[in-house]
């Protein structure tokens, strides 16, 4: 009886863990999708227009920090949800703010989860 209970607890624990892992994976995948829809054309990889070495957002970060931080957001270790919300909701320099109808706070959390997952790799 006791062994059966322990087995059940172990099974449930593994199941919940897998659920949590699954939820995390979904969240990370969602974050990546939202980032690609709204952010990558400015903050992605690749060449910028007309000879610019990077896309505009990536280049702006590069110019501002001159190598102190990686220009790609997903490679930075100092980008947390508070920073992302502040910049996205208020805009920064020539980047205008984005509205809740475009990216919700939950979307932003998913983006940061994706950043974290990439940084862990």
């Amino acid at each position: 009886m006791r062994i059966g209970r322990i087995t059940s607890i172990l099974f449930l624990s593994v199941w919940f863990n897998q659920m949590a892992w699954g939820q995390d994976d979904n969240r990370i995948a969602h974050g990546k999708r939202v980032f690609e829809r709204y952010c990558t054309l400015c903050h992605g990889e690749g060449l910028g227009a007309d000879g610019a070495p990077m896309l505009p957002g990536t280049h702006a970060i590069y110019i501002k920090y001159r190598g102190e931080v990686p220009p790609l957001l997903q490679h930075r270790s100092d980008v947390n949800i508070e920073l992302v919300k502040t910049v996205v909701r208020n805009g920064l320099a020539s980047m205008p703010p984005f509205r809740q109808t475009e990216v919700t706070d939950s979307d932003l959390e998913a983006i940061v989860a994706w950043f974290d997952s990439v940084a862990d790799e």
Binding site: R37, L41, A49, P56, H59, A60, S94, P97, R99
Partner: protein, 552 residues
């Protein structure tokens, strides 16, 4: 920062907000300062001023039925609405309304691509769909149609078309409003109207025949305030098999006249995409002798120096869509016509590429179309690369250019008209002591709209980014609009703070056009709730606000 709609009490406002929440859900009604911040114009010339055009709140419907319910609540509480699609109309006010305290109807959540047909070549979309979304939808499904995108491409086909925006491929598609075919509109009383064949419920031709039967009111919804557009069809260009470009240069200043005539001929025969004109003598402006000649329109001296420097006076880059054979034939024909009309004309064969172009072909900077930004948009590929012009770069490392406001004025589509406009804009600029880009004899037109030229002027009117400098610039632009209009140059599009001023200049028969629109407005929208003041059309309910953005 919180503001109320005009003539609405806090209690009435709170009740209206509760009603809106019951329609769309609490999470889609935005009243906090933090949320409202994103509905301000990030580049506003009156940011943080008491008259800044900020909304009282925003509401994000997800369906046409919710839009109808919002319109009915607005009528009940007499709250002015301002609808946005993706809200990216920067330089033309962004998401900000015409009336401070309006309720912004944010249609971004209505972002469904309802249909794309690559045999009949059309799309039907909702307002929240961006050019990027529509492009991705087409690419993911391997459909063989192109969109015609503005630059940047994060705006909405509906929003851009309704503000008479433009693109860069073939003429019929570049004029985004004219390329629309069929729309669905929530009228000011909450009823739904469909234009064209959408008026016949069983029709299969909504996106193919825009006129329907009888008068077509679709034009009222472009730069208008007669309803909220919730669906819109667009004609799409079939993906061509081949793209080719070529450069034509002419030696003398006056050669521009036959050059334009010839390009017009090719354009109106549907043989070329957007032609890109530019002056060829900009490099000589560092030479004070040449600069003096150019600024004083001394054509003989300009020609002499151009010849001595071996530079062409004018260039036009042409692009051709079709098959390898037809694009070659059209290019050869363009060369033949130009050679017939202009002694000394020279040609540079460009590239001849199968479509779709690769990223490497887009990035290539060979002549013509050295600009990857331009190559991108000639292929109907939306991007945000143009944002480098305002963003932080090596040339602009510590600041950003907040002063991107100016005029694009309609000019006759001929070389003679461009020459006259150059002189007129230069004279006016001198008279008004305009700072910024000085229009001179090298300024060329843009041929975004197939049948007309636009010429930029008034850019760089602000001497800096301080509030006073922006006020001064706005006053200057108003004077510029007046002076331009005396000579027949009208602006095609404007931010809310200049819309009354632009509308004033369309003054034939004591501004009958505006008076006619306002008669319609008052009849259709008796409470004046739909975007009062847009394009200078003020309903009686808000008529006292006409011109209220003007600085004394």
């Amino acid at each position: 920062m919180a503001v109320l709609p005009p003539n609405v009490s806090q209690q009435q406002f709170d009740t209206a907000i509760d009603r809106l929440k019951s329609v769309v859900g609490d999470e889609w009604v935005f009243t906090s300062d933090a949320d409202i911040h994103a509905y301000r114009d990030h580049f506003s010339y009156i940011k943080d001023e008491p008259n800044e055009l900020i909304p009282c709140a925003a509401v994000g419907p997800d369906s046409v039925e919710q839009v109808q319910a919002i319109v009915r609540i607005a009528n009940e509480f007499q709250i002015p609405l301002y609808s946005i699609s993706t809200g990216k109309n920067f330089a033309y006010g962004g998401p900000s309304p015409n009336v401070r305290g309006s309720l912004t109807v944010d249609l971004k959540r209505m972002d469904r691509v309802l249909e794309v047909d690559d045999k009949r070549n059309f799309a039907l979309v909702e307002p929240g769909v961006s050019y990027i979304d529509l492009y991705n939808y087409i690419q993911e499904r391997g459909l063989k149609v192109w969109i015609d995108t503005p630059d940047p491409g994060w705006g909405s086909p509906i929003g851009n078309a309704l503000d008479h925006g433009i693109g860069y491929t073939l003429g019929p598609y570049r004029d985004h409003f004219s390329a629309h075919c069929g729309m669905e509109v929530v009228l000011p009383d909450g009823e739904i109207l469909r234009t064209g064949m959408g008026a016949m419920p069983a029709s299969d031709s909504w996106q193919e025949y825009k006129h329907g039967f009888g008068p077509d009111p679709a034009g009222l919804f472009g730069q208008g305030n007669f309803g909220i557009v919730t669906k819109m069809g667009f004609r799409l260009m079939p993906q061509p098999e081949h793209w080719r470009n070529g450069l034509i240069t002419v030696p003398r200043r006056r050669d521009f006249i036959p050059m334009v005539d010839t390009v017009n001929y090719l354009t109106d025969l549907g043989m070329i995409g957007e032609p890109w004109y530019s002056g060829g003598l900009q490099a000589l402006m560092n030479n004070t002798e040449f600069a003096e000649a150019a600024n004083n329109f001394n054509e003989e001296e300009m020609d002499r120096q151009a010849l001595a420097a071996g530079l062409p006076s004018w260039r036009v880059e042409l692009q051709f869509y079709g098959s390898e054979g037809t694009t070659l034939a059209n290019w050869e024909y363009a060369k033949e016509l130009m050679a017939r009309n202009i002694p000394g004309v020279q040609f540079t064969d460009g590239e001849s590429l199968p479509v779709p172009l690769t990223d490497e072909q887009i990035q290539k900077s060979s002549t013509p179309y050295e600009s990857s930004m331009r190559r991108n948009i000639t292929q109907g590929r939306p991007g945000l690369g143009i944002w480098y012009m305002t963003g932080r770069t090596d040339f602009n490392p510590n600041a950003w250019n907040e002063t991107h406001i100016g005029l694009f004025s309609l000019v006759g589509r001929s070389g003679e008209a461009v020459f006259k406009a150059q002189r007129d804009f230069a004279d006016i600029s001198k008279r008004l002591d305009m700072p910024g880009f000085f229009p001179n004899s090298l300024a060329g037109p843009v041929n975004w709209y197939q049948n007309s030229f636009l010429m930029g002027n008034g850019f760089g009117a602000a001497k800096g980014n301080s509030p006073q400098q922006k006020k001064d610039a706005t006053i200057l632009l108003r004077r510029l609009l007046e002076e331009n209009a005396k000579l027949g140059y009208g602006d095609y599009r404007a931010p809310p703070i200049l819309q009354d001023d632009v509308a004033d200049q369309y003054s034939f028969n004591n501004n009958i056009l505006r008076r006619f629109n306002e008669k319609l407005k008052n009849a259709i929208d008796p409470n004046g709730i739909i975007s009062p003041g847009r394009a200078g059309i003020w309903p009686e309910a808000y008529a006292d606000l006409r011109g209220s953005h003007r600085e004394d």
